[in-house]
């Protein structure tokens, strides 16, 4: 049996992780099939408002399962479309951030010396500095350097936000990868590969990376939920992504809960928050499950 299959078997035993994975799977199915699963368009009012009977702020009912928002749009449909954007941002930035982190961590671990010291100092600082401030300062630097403009795009574009989160999301993984490299590079199978004449790149890609896949995958999942929450936070301050007209994001919907608590439009608060919490909860549980599944220390005693 391959290690992968053993990990799968262990993962499946982690009840919460399995349930979370199933919930996430359902969500992904919903957002992939958005045109079918959503009842209305993302910006379509449930029915056109009229001066006599404004259709905004309907509580959940037959025509709008989860109620409507300030201009009468169906919250259920918007949640599906919003989740799509948020998961895209979360996944993309976590994925690229992890790649960057792996690269930096591998270089630091393999090269050692002053490169290692420098990279790790930078990592420490990024980690220790207040998250939002670093994000905002990076954001202003990115939007004020003219030659970066064609690369990063408009400060409110999804691409910009993803790049921002990538620039901000590599440290944890870099540390992790460096640790893994330092531990693994003393192992004889790595030395064996070197004796075979394998290059550093090959060693990293063929041996170090697969053998660190467990912890890195775990870090990646946590990054996904972290980024989804970060997107919501940015949105709260008005610096969030603007997913183009005709789109929304979970962060926007949760931010929209702001004005809805006092008037008692509870559905506008409860449902987006529940979805946000559910997504990040599920992702975290999956991460937890992956950690248990891939942790070699737990081999055999579970």
């Amino acid at each position: 049996m391959s290690p992968r299959r053993m990990a799968v078997r262990r993962f499946v035993k982690h009840r919460a992780a399995l349930i979370s994975l199933i919930i996430l799977g359902i969500m992904v199915l919903f957002i992939l099939l958005a045109p079918f699963t959503a009842r209305y368009g993302v910006n379509e009012a449930v029915f056109k408002t009229s001066p006599e009977k404004p259709n905004s702020f309907l509580s959940p009912r037959g025509i709008a399962w989860l109620g409507t928002d300030d201009i009468g749009r169906d919250l259920y449909s918007r949640l599906i479309y919003g989740l799509r954007v948020s998961i895209l941002i979360g996944l993309a930035s976590a994925f690229f951030g992890t790649i960057l982190g792996v690269a930096i961590g591998a270089v630091a671990g393999l090269r050692g010396g002053w490169i290692d010291d420098l990279l790790m100092r930078v990592t420490d600082l990024f980690l220790a500095f207040p998250f939002l401030v670093t994000l905002l300062v990076l954001r202003s630097v990115m939007s004020n350097v003219p030659w970066l403009k064609p690369i990063v795009g408009n400060p409110t574009s999804i691409r910009f936000v993803v790049i921002l989160f990538v620039l901000f999301g590599w440290m944890g993984v870099a540390r992790l990868m460096r640790g893994q490299v330092l531990a693994l590079k003393e192992r004889e199978f790595v030395e064996a590969a070197r004796a075979l004449g394998a290059s550093n790149t090959r060693i990293v890609l063929r041996h170090l990376l697969p053998n660190s896949a467990g912890p890195i995958l775990v870090a990646l999942t946590f990054a996904v939920s972290g980024n989804i929450i970060a997107e919501a936070t940015l949105g709260f301050f008005g610096y969030g992504p603007q997913p183009g007209a005709g789109a929304t994001s979970l962060g926007k919907l949760v931010g929209g809960a702001k004005g809805a608590l006092l008037p008692g439009y509870w559905w506008l608060v409860v449902f987006p928050c529940v979805i946000l919490i559910l997504v990040s909860l599920c992702v975290n549980f999956v991460g937890d499950g992956l950690r248990d599944a891939t942790d070699p220390k737990l081999d055999g005693n579970r």
Partner: protein
């Protein structure tokens, strides 16, 4: 010990300089103080502009940045801080007030949060895998995933708005450091105003540290030498207190010391919702205006905090871990 601290302090100085220089360049690029100045002083004459560039060291190019940084640093350490761009206000008095407000709020919340979080962590680590464990770890996931502005609003609603609807008077104030119009110092009022914002931060900190502590303690409890200790017949309580806790706390203290900078900075959201005039609000205001003279001391302060607490982490680590002897 003393030598060790001194050596680290000597390291801290160049670190501070390098980091603040990088921050200086980033802010110069990011905020473009000259453009901000021109935006605010639209009809400034060529001479005035030139004068502004010179008094504030806004030279261009890498050499210019170095020169400008040194000029800024000199003014900074002699408390000759440049005035804010908007309204040309003195930065220090406002910064100082905001700093004390934030430190008061942040340190209280950090202390309480870590304390409670660790207790929770110990509580669940003693009986892992059970219902208790599941409840606490699920709650901590929920707490981590709940945006602070949502929990803040809920607290405001409950303790102020609804409370005053139900009982005619609110239990806890929703905003500020003191009630409007209050003058002078009043500890009770100050504490009353801190309860809700502190709670919001504490919820997050507790969630994080409960998980840390759980993991750390479990690792220690499962380790070989703990098994040995147990097998020697040492009582469970003694094992826990004398060995496990001490060892489990070592990594956490280190993490906590490093975390404090991040927690203080993370107050931004909380401060904004509770209209609490702290450093977070100070930064956001400065950021919105692209106000370099306000942002730079802020960044300098946090660089110092981060470096100082990193140093503290090292020292604590050395003090706590008996395996480490400082020459």
């Amino acid at each position: 010990m003393f030598r060790f601290v001194m050596r680290r302090l000597m390291w801290a100085l160049p670190m501070t300089l390098i980091i603040t220089f990088v921050v200086y360049v980033a802010l110069r690029v990011g905020t473009d103080p000259l453009a901000s100045y021109l935006r605010v002083n639209q009809r400034a004459s060529e001479k005035k502009i030139q004068q502004y560039i010179e008094t504030n060291g806004l030279y261009e190019g890498f050499g210019g940045y170095v020169r400008g940084y040194l000029q800024w640093l000199q003014g900074f350490v002699t408390f000759d801080w440049p005035r804010s761009i908007k309204g040309s206000r003195e930065v220090w008095p406002e910064f100082r007030d905001a700093m004390f407000n934030t430190l008061r709020l942040g340190l209280t919340a950090t202390f309480l949060g870590i304390l409670i979080g660790l207790s929770f962590g110990i509580f669940v680590a003693l009986k892992p895998g059970g219902l208790r464990d599941a409840t606490v770890s699920t709650s901590s996931f929920v707490a981590i995933s709940t945006p602070p502005y949502v929990s803040a609003l809920l607290l405001q609603l409950l303790f102020a708005v609804y409370w005053s609807k139900w009982f005619g008077q609110s239990l806890l104030p929703t905003s500020g450091v003191y009630p409007p119009g209050h003058r002078g110092f009043d500890l009770v009022l100050m504490i009353k105003h801190m309860i809700l914002p502190v709670t919001v931060v504490v919820i997050q900190v507790v969630a994080v540290y409960a998980r840390y502590m759980r993991a750390s303690l479990l690792e220690v409890l499962n380790s070989e030498y703990m098994r040995t200790a147990r097998s020697k017949g040492i009582s469970e309580r003694r094992v826990l207190v004398r060995h496990a806790l001490r060892n489990a706390l070592i990594p956490i203290v280190t993490v906590a010391a490093i975390d404090i900078g991040a927690i203080l900075g993370g107050l931004i959201i909380t401060e904004r919702i509770f209209s609490y005039p702290g450093l977070g609000d100070f930064f956001l205001g400065a950021y919105d205006n692209g106000d370099f003279p306000q942002m730079m001391p802020w960044m300098f302060f946090f660089t110092l905090v981060v470096i100082a607490f990193n140093l503290l982490a090292d020292v604590l680590y050395a003090v706590l871990d008996p395996r480490i002897r400082l020459g």
